[in-house]
Amino acid sequence: MMVRGFQDFGMLKVAPLIPLAPLIASVLVGTTGHRFSRGASHWPVLIGVALALVGSVMVAGTVYFELPYEYADTYRLYEWIAPTLVTSFTVSFCIDPLTGVMLLTVCAISLLVVIYSRDSMRHHGHPERGYERFFAFLGLFVFAMCTLVLAGNFLLLFLGWEAVGLCSYLMIGFHYDRPAAASAARKAFLVNRVGDFGFGLGILCIYLWISPLTNAWDNPLDYAVVFARVGDLAPWQCTTIALLLFCGAIGKSAQLPLHVWLPEAVEGPAPVSALIHAATMVTAGVYMVARCGPIFAQSPVALGGVAVIGAVTAILAATIALAQYDMKRILAYSTISQLGFMFVGLGVGAADSAVFHLYTHAFFKALLFLGAGSVMHAMGGQMDVREFGGLRRVLPVTYATFLVGGMAMAGVPFLSGFFSENELIHAAFGFHAWLGPMLGGLALLTALLTAFYTFRMVFLAFHGPQRIPDGVDVREPGRWMRVPLLLLAVGAVVAGYAGVHPGLGGFAGVIAPNGSFHEYVRPVLSPNTTVGADASPAVGHGRYLLMYVSAVVALLGIAAAYVLYVRRRAWADAVPAAMPTAHQWVHDSCYVDEVNEAVVVRPLRRAGVLCYATDNFVIDGFLWLITVVPRIAAFFLRELQGGSLQGYGLTMTVGLLVILVVALLAN
């Protein structure tokens, strides 16, 4: 653990390029795009993000092959007011395997989404209104996300955190003339404020409690400093910090009760949903909790809280997804549910598995969202699965890739989702004497529901009799959209193999968990990995048993969906009819919004009225009183400077006399 310069590590010199290249591209497109590049605006951003990806590969490779790796190395790039007492504003990067994984995931998915957007943001070959704005925002987002991931101290992390939030707001409200989009953007921003308030408080607590423990020249917000000193804090302090930080994660990663913004965020364009609201930004909370592992490891209470909130969110969101008809909303709820899974992993101490799931999830969820976007593009903006169906013949590529993504998410064996999800369930079972089995059971049930609702969507949209809304000219998307879909489909299949040992026995005789991915990230995450230690491939037939169980569960869910939505559609329709209240309840997201409104919004609004009154009468009045003095003074001074030379001379003489008296009295 040390603070270094880049010069020691050749390849790491490209690290600043990773956020800067997309930023430059974004500024270029944002300032000159409407005049010059117009329909070619995707090129600068594409190149910028591609450079960022190249940089990420170099950085991740250097971390893997060259660094004598210790723990949380910090590279200081720039200090604001350098030789002074205030050292807390520093631009420093933390480059370690966790950063490497996140960078690779973010940049790879971003690049594919940029490529996809080129056609997705066109209608009949013409760029949509705001085409250059879209790509400027996209570049800005990649910059912000890379800053967040690379940050080596909490202040920079917070800056990146807020910047991705801003990008999310701008992107959800991309079609700002649509009231639904504008209101969804506002909601996302406000809900995130609630979480970020806690996050900010957490950082403040870190600053206040850590700085007395450190040397004067250390930045008390540096990861390395904080993680080294966090053991010296009292347990209640650790718990407070951890829970406050987790507040931020709840908001950003859409966990109960702040998940309400994510389903509405699908009002943004489909590529944005894929990138920001499925693959990358929403996983920032998971990344942050994993990064702050040393803090959370000090507090079993906080860890338990993370696990419980994750499990409850997972099952709740999966249940709500059962009763949704909008494809993108189903996917949004599934994202919430999958993020819940990751938090379960973090809470039970399997941070490596959580990050592994983050990584596989990015591929298949981006694929599903882009597939949904492709359907939407073909259906002329229609997303409701009751309005169309049987599209597998007219959209074969979309169907095939969507099916692969769905299978990966449902946990079908040998696809990426299966490996990571299974690890999390296993870790949950082994967590705690009685809490563990409960969490594990919930997770298993969620897996069943996930398989079911995913294939409900697949079957409703692509199987059955072909139904296409009137006046829609269905065409398979263009090359720019097809290529990312195919690449992501490949990713959804093979990404998981980074995390297993193929051919070493284990599941089905060929798959043993804990592969090179885990070895790569373990140096960072091992201090707060409790399960990882005993999860070497040699141990535990129980783990393999669980793998069989979850494989059966996934197939069961798919089979149930097949029966209900392909074979016996009448049965499926009978369910809402039989339980109208329950169905309505689930369809309306279990009324979490309404509870929030009553518990948080209304009291706040009342407090707001009070604050407004105070501001308007007390503070404004006070300020008015303060400004009276300068204004009266200004009036007299203006008279003094009236332009008459005699007046000037008199005033000067009097002033000089006053100075004389002062100088003589000063002795």
């Binding site: 007011i81 300068p630 009036f635 030379l645 000067m652 100075i659 002062v662 100088a663 000063a666 002795n667």
Partner: protein, 529 residues
């Protein structure tokens, strides 16, 4: 006590070499007069000759700076006597600063030739030779001001800087406002010069020498008296006039409003910089004179910035607002002179001096930026009334945005250079306050005044961006060169506040060491027994 040598003495070439920039400037003045005789009177030609000369002087300053760093700081001194003129780090900084600013002002003048409407431009260009002789002359005076501790040279330098300035203020003699401003300036200058001379003669009478360090040493030896105190105050009146400290500031708003914008720009920074450099030199040479001088300077600084900030509130002309703003900033910078924190050793940077240098450097860019922006508006619309700035954000965004940046920097908001300038000043005040509690008062004054000043700076920004008129004003097409200057200033300020923050601080530190070559007299006795 050293006697002044009475026989005629001509400095050897080696010593004159330290003052190559000044000599270059004198040569330029001659060239500005001579070249039109050969090539004919053309405004552009005069400007280009002046520009060449100034750039040459700037290069020579760089050379002198290198030599000062290598060899021991020296000056222009008769054998066995204290130096008449000093060549040291501090002087080099100020000379380079003044010459850099002179370059910018000359460029602005050149742009003004094409930026103005043709009729005005012809009138403006009519006496270009005289203009540059006067401008270079006042610059020469200012350069001498910052490199001497000899009373005679101080008087000479102040007058050399002031006399051309009076003429510059009324340069456009057909403009009644300019003539009036010039007259007021002259009268003020004459009165303060008289007081200064009186003070200096008192000092000479009391101590029989013109060398300030010698006087300081004599005072430290118990030679101080009421006469000496009066003499020192008289000297400070002259300096106060140059930096327009309250109550010697009355000329400033009237002159800025009446003079052409180029002249106002020149006076707003150069005159103050030279005065502050001289003041800091005098104050440092006097050592810790039992606080009397420091307290006086502190009180004058407080009065200066507070009164100026209040007086700026109701002004309707941007040049007048900027005049008060420049007075207020002079007040802030005076605070640096009020901090007596001798550095631990000669080789350590003096905190207050370093803060002052950094502030000046930042102030140059923010003030020049705002003035150049105002010039662009004035060239186009004919006046600098605040109403001409309404809707500028829409009419000329490339002018309004950088101007707003410069204004915000003048307020002192992060992440701009103005913030760090104030920050380092506060650091200097704070570390001085560790020894003298009264300096906390100055900290408070600085912070409160920043708050007060927010109002009138934001008022301009409000006019430019938020105020909407029912009738849409026509778009403005500002002079391209002016735009480049303003934008460059904004970028520099942004750099000073962020990426360049460290470099600027190190630069200021570098020139704040070895504050002056003569031995520092630390007076133990009181100014007035």
């Amino acid at each position: 006590m050293t006697e002044l040598t009475t026989e005629f003495w001509f400095p050897p070439a080696g010593q004159l070499g330290w003052f190559a920039p000044e000599l270059a400037l004198i040569a330029t003045i001659v060239a500005v007069v001579a070249v039109p005789i050969i090539l004919g009177r053309r405004a552009r030609l005069s400007a280009c000759v002046a520009l060449l000369g100034v750039v040459a002087a700037l290069l020579l300053t760089g050379d002198v700076g290198r030599r000062v760093a290598e060899e021991a700081a020296a000056g222009l001194a008769p054998p066995g006597a204290p130096p008449m003129l000093i060549a040291d780090n501090f002087a080099v900084f100020f000379k380079a600063f003044l010459l850099l600013f002179l370059t910018l002002v000359t460029v602005l003048w050149l742009f003004g030739l094409t930026g103005r409407r043709p009729a005005l431009a012809r009138r403006f260009a009519a006496h270009s030779v005289e203009f540059f002789v006067l401008l270079l002359g006042s610059a020469l005076g200012m350069m001498v001001m910052v490199s001497t501790l000899n009373l005679l040279m101080i008087i000479l330098a102040i007058e050399l800087a002031s006399l051309p300035s009076y003429a510059l203020a009324g340069y456009d003699k057909r403009d009644p406002a300019g003539a009036e401003a010039s007259l007021k300036y002259v009268l003020f200058g004459a009165v303060t010069a008289a007081i200064t001379l009186y003070g200096v003669s008192l000092l000479y009478g009391a101590f029989g020498t013109l060398d300030i360090p010698t006087i300081a040493a004599a005072m430290a030896g118990g030679g101080a008296g009421v006469g000496a105190a009066l003499g020192l105050l008289g000297l400070c009146v002259g300096i106060g006039f140059k930096i327009s400290a309250v109550p010697f500031h009355f000329w400033c708003p009237d002159v800025f409003e009446g003079a052409t914008i180029e002249v106002a720009t020149w006076l707003s920074v150069a005159s103050k910089a030279a005065g502050l450099g001289l003041l800091l030199r005098v104050v440092t040479a006097m050592g810790s004179l039992d606080d009397a001088l420091a307290i006086t300077v502190g009180i004058v600084a407080t009065a200066t910035c507070t009164l100026a900030n209040f007086a700026a509130y109701r002004q309707q002309n941007v040049k007048r607002i900027l005049a008060y703003s420049s007075i207020a900033h002079a007040g802030y910078m005076l605070m640096a002179a009020a901090v007596f924190v001798p550095a631990a050793s000669e080789a350590e940077p003096n905190l207050a001096a370093s803060a002052l240098l950094l502030y000046l450097l930042t102030y140059l860019f923010m003030n020049f930026g705002v003035f150049a922006a105002t010039a662009c508006v004035e060239w186009e619309t004919g006046s600098s009334a605040l109403s001409n700035f309404i809707g500028l954000g829409r009419r000329a965004p490339w002018l309004a945005v950088p101007m707003a940046v410069c204004l915000l920097s003048l307020v002192g908001l992060p992440p701009l250079g103005g913030f760090l300038a104030k920050w380092w000043l506060l650091v200097a005040l704070g570390s001085g306050a560790a020894e003298h509690d009264r300096l906390w008062g100055l900290v408070l004054v600085l912070v409160l005044n920043t708050l007060f000043s927010l109002y009138y700076y934001l008022r301009i920004i409000y006019m430019m961006f938020l105020r909407t008129e029912w009738s849409r004003p026509a778009p403005l097409a500002p002079h391209v060169g002016g735009l480049v200057l303003v934008n460059a200033c904004a970028v520099v300020l942004l750099l000073f506040g962020t990426l360049g923050a460290r470099a600027v601080k190190l630069l200021a530190d570098e020139y704040a060491v070895h504050l002056y070559a003569a031995p520092l007299a630390r007076a133990a006795a009181a100014l007035v027994p």
